[in-house]
């Protein structure tokens, strides 16, 4: 039983790390601010669920119940605040006048970027 739980926790951790790496790659490679924040914001929430899930399994297995409770609270807190922060940053950028990149820009925007 313990070995199975260990393997599951390990898999969750590995998956979390892989997702985080994808997000970092997206941050580095994607063309504009909105695409990047999309990559970072979405994966961020998923990664914390995966990693905290893995730690939760380990904490429960070792009998650290107060640690497990704290992990659940941390996860809920991040689940609420992290997308909100992403949303705040993106909407602030939009209000500031930043527009999403697109491969074939509308004529007026093409003129602007050409000028």
């Amino acid at each position: 039983m313990n070995a199975v739980l260990d393997v599951v926790a390990g898999l969750l951790l590995a998956l979390g790390c892989f997702t985080a790496l994808t997000s970092a790659l997206g941050l580095y490679r994607l063309p504009d601010f909105f695409a990047r924040i999309h990559a970072a914001g979405k994966t961020d929430t998923l990664v914390q669920l995966l990693v905290v899930g893995a730690l939760l399994i380990e904490a429960a297995r070792l009998g650290h119940l107060s640690a497990a409770l704290k992990l659940v609270l941390i996860s809920i807190f991040l689940l609420v605040t992290s997308p909100t922060a992403t949303h705040a940053i993106a909407s602030a950028a939009y209000q500031e006048g930043l527009r999403p990149w697109s491969p074939d820009p509308a004529p007026s925007e093409a003129e602007e970027s050409g000028a």
Partner: protein, 355 residues
Amino acid sequence: MNELALLAGLLALVVATAVGTVQARNLYAATILLGIYSLLMALTWTLLHAVDVAFTEASVGAGVSTILLFAALVRIGGRETENQSNLHLPALLLVLLLGGLLAYGLEDAPAFGDPDAPVHRRAAAFYTSLESYHLSHSKNLATPVLASYRGYDTLFETAVIFTAGLAMILLLRKESAGSPAEAEEIAEDPPAAEPDAVDPGRSARLLGRPGGAPRDLGRHPVLSKVCKTVVPFVVVFGLYVITHGELGPGGGFQGGVIIAAAFVLVALVFGLPRARQFLPRAWSDALAGVGVLVYAGVGLTTMALGGTYLEYARLALDPEHPAGGQTLGMTLVEMGVGVTVAAVMATIFSEMVED
């Protein structure tokens, strides 16, 4: 050995981020890099078993100082001029000379992690012994060092923080806005403060766009809802951290900063005037001093009870068990620290964004 490899990787990232911070021409980018730098530092501290320091670094370095730098950059401009030469030769030579001397000196330093290094002997050996635990009943061995054995040190650190808050007020606060009567007027007169809460200029400046169109974050449904939901929890967590510094990582410094973070959050979403309704200027000014006075007052109380300054054992209700006095004294002192830190951080933030 695994630990060492992890540490080496983290430290390499830390140094790389530091170089990036210094190189970035855009100061906003430099500030974000500095925030990342602080988070990496917090991880490094955890790896080095300095959990209290990691806690402080995460709340101060990555939280308060980032927001403070942004607030300052809005007012002083976020871009370095381009007219500088890329390499400053005298500075480079000086830095390399200093580096060479320090590296030469490192040879004689005790090896990293050596349990028999001189720093771990004498008083430090007592700090990490169970004797210290039995004397103070504090599970967190750092807390008695902070609040009891080095209590004078911490008292004056708190006084330094208070002085920094005072300096901010003296430097940036305008005389016309400074009268306490006026601050109370805002606090007691919600209808007058309400239109202020959506003052377009102020919230726009707060977010980096002087004179811009109104950025009405307070009416934004998601932000206002989440902010209203989260703030009470943040304050409660801050109080928990202040009072539970003896059981685990935490204490007055960290908890005070967390409470100030709640103030900053309200100010960012609903505007500073709204945040000032929760913590009026007159109150935060007074509380910054009250915290230091509580700390100093505990010392005077132990003297009045016949002990020396900050001799907490005198506070024990039952003289047979001096550890009770230690717990009481350290808790009171941590509360004093927390009050001062929270009030000063709130003052620093609001003086920086207000003009």
